[in-house]
Symmetry: C2
DNA sequence: CTTTATTCTCTACAACTATAGAAAATAAAC
DNA sequence: GTTTATTTTCTATAGTTGTAGAGAATAAAG
């Protein structure tokens, strides 16, 4: 058996022999290299050879950690999702209502180089997901979580009296989510450097719309 | 010379010999086949062989009409864009203000099978455009046109007194455009059949938001 | 240094790709 | 039917891809 499953080697099960590589950590290294390649050269440039090279290895070195390319890509995409969600959790912690809503959106919007790169990752992911139900399910689940969080913040904001619009919260949440997704596209397709399309102004404008009954 | 440029053969320049195929029409046939393949099997399934087969030809028959695959894809994407824009023009004709705005959005939103298929085309296009400046430019130009149209309708709607929100029209136009793009993603990634995510309700809700100062 | 299990490199391979171009089929004009 | 230019098929090619697996390199333990 050449390939150890996640965290199987953390407990030191083969004491007779040296354990050199932390498989989980190596997987993250490889995912990071993949991420960089896709952001720089697009999904089509992310061949196994190129990924291995970027990570500093030769052609076949990926196999023990990811049996197939699809495994690697799925793990890579999932990792970006998780990281974004962690950032969201950390930024909205302790906040509620409009403050939480604003923090949430500012964290998702492609307002700096790093998040613009994430937008360049998520679009290839969507393209794969269009014809891959398993990847589509990852997306569906994340979006459901996001919608729930947005609705929660909206409800709090209504209690604060800062959202008074005569439109159902579920509808508002859908609008806001779609605005966030659309911003990803605009940012990813904008010529390098000239990025900001006033996404922050759009967010503030939308919060203004919500405030008036 | 085997490949005639667009509409070069409409005037009958070689009267000595039979002219059998209308090159422009054949190009549209091939683009249609391409469209069907991408909608059904994704961009990765759209190989030259598969496209030729779908159109009822053998492997090499595409060459006289499109010298390279990239030429074909670019033409195909451009054609979908043009068709959508024509539909928009036809639907908003004679309308103005909120009516025109609503018609515009309803025509773009993925509310029926055909437009959901268009969403399944545009996502692969975006993915290509992320690393292809020429395709990105096609997108940029279309979006600029759309933004201009939306702003025009918003201004009319303000004159009618049906838009009274205290937010700049440019910002509103950006919000609405991003909502439309986001809806494409949601629709393209939704499991087949279960499509409608309440996009029409989102539109009506947004128009409600705009109406109140 | 020897042993030993792991990790990595390297080569190989089968599948598939876009593309090129020779040859065959085609259909109007005579 | 014959001619003629066009249209299409068919085969070939050069390149790339994911994957497999043998062997070398590696590093800890004795």
């Amino acid at each position: 058996m050449a390939h150890k499953s996640l965290s199987e080697n953390l407990s030191g099960e083969w004491p007779a022999v040296p354990k050199i590589v932390d498989h989980d950590e190596r997987r993250l290294e490889l995912v990071d290299a993949t991420w960089r390649i896709i952001a720089r050269n697009g999904l089509e440039g992310a061949t196994m050879r190129e990924i291995a090279l970027e990570a500093g290895f030769a052609n076949g070195a990926l196999k023990p950690y990811f049996p197939t390319k699809d495994t690697l890509l799925e793990f890579a995409f999932g990792h970006v999702f998780n990281r974004t969600n962690q950032r969201i959790a950390s930024v909205t912690e302790g906040k509620s209502g409009v403050d939480a809503l604003r923090a949430f959106c500012l964290e998702v919007l492609p307002l700096d180089e790093e998040r613009i790169n994430e937008a360049r990752i998520v679009i290839p992911f969507w393209q794969k997901a269009v014809n891959d139900p398993q990847k589509a399910e990852i997306h569906r689940q994340s979006m459901e979580e996001w919608l729930a969080a947005i609705r929660r913040h909206l409800a709090e904001a209504r209690d604060e009296g800062k959202v008074r619009a005569a439109v159902d919260d579920s509808v508002l949440a859908g609008q806001l989510l779609n605005m966030l997704l659309g911003a990803q596209i605009e940012a990813a397709l904008a010529p390098a450097g000239q990025a900001n399309f006033g996404h922050d102004a759009q967010l503030e404008g939308y919060l203004t719309l919500l405030a008036h009954p």
